[in-house]
Amino acid sequence: MYRYIWLVPLLPLAGAAINGLLGRKLRFSEKLVSSIAVGSIALAFLITLAAVYSYTFSSNAIWPQAYVTSQDGTFSFTWIPGGAVRLTQGSHERLSIKLQEEAARKRAALPPQQREQPVLVGGGEEQRSSVLNVEWSYQLDALSSIFMLVVTGVGLCIFVFATGYMHGDPGFYRFFAYMGLFMFSMLVLVMGSNFLMMFVGWEGVGLCSYLLIGYYFDRQEAANASRKAFITNRIGDFGFALAIFGVIATFGTTQYGDVFAQASGYPLEPLGQWGLLSWIALGLFIGACGKSAQLPLHVWLPDAMAGPTPVSALIHAATMVTAGLYMVTRTNVIFQHSQTMMMVVALVGAATALFAATIGITQNDIKKVLAYSTVSQLGFMFMACGVGAFAIGIFHVMTHAFFKALMFLGAGSVIHGMHHEQDMRRMGGLRKYMPYTYLTFLAGWLAICGIIPFSGFWSKDEILWNAAATRYIPVGWIVWIVGTIAATCTAFYMTRLVAMTFWGKEKFLDAPHDHTPEHEVHDHDHETPTHHTHIPHESPASMWVPLAVLAVLATVGGFVGISSAFTGGQHVGGRMNIVNFLDPIIWNPTTRFFGTHHVVDSYGKQPEFKEAHVELSVLTTEPLHVELPPPPYGQEGFNLAHMVESAVHSEALTEWVFIIISLLVAGLGITLGWLFYVKNPRLPDIWASRLRPLYQASYNKYWVDEFFGWAITRRTMDAARAVFAFDSKVVDGAVNGSAWLTKLASRITGGVDQYFVDGLVNAVAAFVVRLMSPLFRAAQTGFAQNYALVMVFGLVAAVALFFGADILKAVQSIFAIGF
């Protein structure tokens, strides 16, 4: 079935093309548009399921072969045909004249039909030539499997939800055309087999994000937000593009397999050493920061909530913003070569997680809270990648896609039920009015808070444990502390959100409904009496059924990454365990191979792989205890896990200590939230006034937007004004000055012409005429004999001219005769 994966991106594209190109002209009904859109996504999801099954689990599975591409299959073509590319191992000079001559010589020796082909020149490692061929080919492996499943699966739920949410919108077909285009771009991003295809998908999702944030383009706020998102992403894309250039210049290819095979041979770059791969990794991480809204490029994501809520769920929570994670995990070979960049990734992730979580505490817009929560959770994912637990990062991408999509859709349902009211201060007590939404939202809430056994617990706990136990970077303990505080904040603000929305007093009954004009578009489909009294109502089945599906996933989805502490210190379940599943694509800096089959995993445990024989079964064998290998980069800082282990004298107990701490902080956050917003609703105001500066900072999002506005926007405007002034004063002045000079010069030359040249001409002509006229006048005597005389002179002259010589001869002969 994986032979047909090329259909997976193509189907949403076809659906989008049909809806977008024909939807307006043929006046498609909402039913037709939604069948086309949902049908194409559903078909793509089914193909993905079948392909992943046959690739991974079926009896003729080819797993764990790291890369299955359709390069040899039916859908593959050379996208950018190659020319000679200089492969640089050390110096970066171009192909030298000598090598060009050598290439010409080799070409001349070939038979004529092969002379167009590139030839290999240069001898040793230093001088190799290669060909840059960029394939348009799809790749199915462990990482792209997970992303394809998440994108098409969660995407399907959100598409179904959107058919209900967008009901009655005049741009219905346009919305689904953009969404389908987004699905295509995202699938190209995660399925491409080379960096350039990832870049195409990367830019495609950026474009669709722009289009969908600005979906309500008649609202200034949405238009501004879409521009902000686009421009901020450009900064990241700049780094990404530089990194791709670096990859091409260094490895001479963009194909993942070739790049990573070559990169495996490069030396590791320990902390503080900035080698080639560190720079490439830095460029890639700048790209990831832009797309995944990490500090300081996070500013666009909260504003992106101006788009419709399904867009926020699909693009700005579940899929597109995790593209940065996909990229970092995909290129983990490059990142793991640079300890510096690993540390940068971990610290940026940790800082973002805490930063966004503290902002989320004080926001009142339900979607803003969820947006900052998303930024925070993305920080957690980068934290995982930075401490070397890439598989756990992807695990958190998956669980986060479940519970955050669920909560965004739940928020969409609430907004829909509240007639487009987003301010949580006007909500409350909604559990009575929207039971399905409430119940499903509870699952998401417990998942993100990290309550066992909901999915968020497994991934977040693994992240924190890996941060504490990491041997990749020396600052794992800082990451752990920051992450734990962020997790507490997460539990707190999520409890606050649930309490303000679903529990307590029904504040919408006494609060005046803020009937802002921009929401008029969506209101005309609820012409019921409740509309006028603003009593919330439960959403239709097309909206709560996807919620229910996602709620189930958010509840049980975490078991694919069940913590090894629960299962005797092993990653059980064979390929069904996400850590084992992703193993073939994670590089091991100690063994310099992909996968941890050979020795140990990142924190020193011997993994057990029984994938060929036992699947979906819990293994009960004792873990193998081996000597800890040296840390990957040859140095080790303070390690929290080792400290705890030396205190409790048990390896198994160590992880349990961290699990209990993680559960305790989640409980602490929930309890605080309950105290503040249920038990004693006056507490928030008291603490807000008591911690006034902190509250203000958080409420105003640490003034980052204001700072950027001052430091970048204002400076840009100043520069523009200066350039404009230069233009109008200097450039225009120069042009006008030259015009003035031209005028002056023309006046001067005109004067000279009129008085000097003309005068000269007149004077000379008159002089000559006056001089010559007596002569010619004298010739005109009027006497016929004078004229006759002139004729005779002419005759004599003619005779002298024609017969002068003969006459002379005759005269000479006469004189020679003598007298």
């Binding site: 006497f783 016929a784 004999q785 005389l789 007298f819």
Partner: protein
């Protein structure tokens, strides 16, 4: 100058006389009956020069007309002489010179008629046929 002209003319006559004096007497008659071409040409040249001198020097317009007739007849003499010369040297069809002479006579007659008409008109207006008193050609 006079010396030079004297030399020239005496040389020209000398050429004429040279033939006559160097030839035997019995051939002189034959020569007179069938004179040499150069004699005709010399006489034509003399006629032409006399005509030109008359045109340039005489004030009476009638005499100038007569001098023009001399010039034309000099040309006629050359035509006839050369035509005969060509016939005697074998080209029996060389009559173009003689035909031209007839044309020249016709044109001279017409010219004389028009010219004398102009003279009469001139005399009626100016009361003179002296060319140095007529300078209206410059207007």
């Amino acid at each position: 100058m006079h010396f030079f002209m004297l030399k020239f003319f005496s040389a020209a006559f000398g050429l004429l006389l040279q033939e006559a004096t160097s030839a035997p007497m019995h051939t002189a008659w034959e020569k007179a009956q069938n004179p040499d071409l150069s004699r005709f040409l010399v006489i034509g040249a003399l006629l032409f020069i006399i005509g030109v001198a008359g045109v340039l020097t005489r004030r009476n317009i009638i005499v100038i007309f007569m001098s023009i007739e001399l010039i034309l007849n000099a040309a006629n003499l050359n035509f006839i002489a050369l035509s005969r010369y060509l016939q005697e040297t074998g080209n029996v069809n060389a009559v173009a010179g003689q035909i031209f002479a007839v044309f020249v006579i016709v044109v001279a007659a017409a010219e004389a008629a028009i010219g004398l008409g102009i003279v009469i008109a001139l005399y009626r207006n100016k009361e003179t046929i002296w060319v140095d008193e007529i300078d209206i050609l410059k207007w």
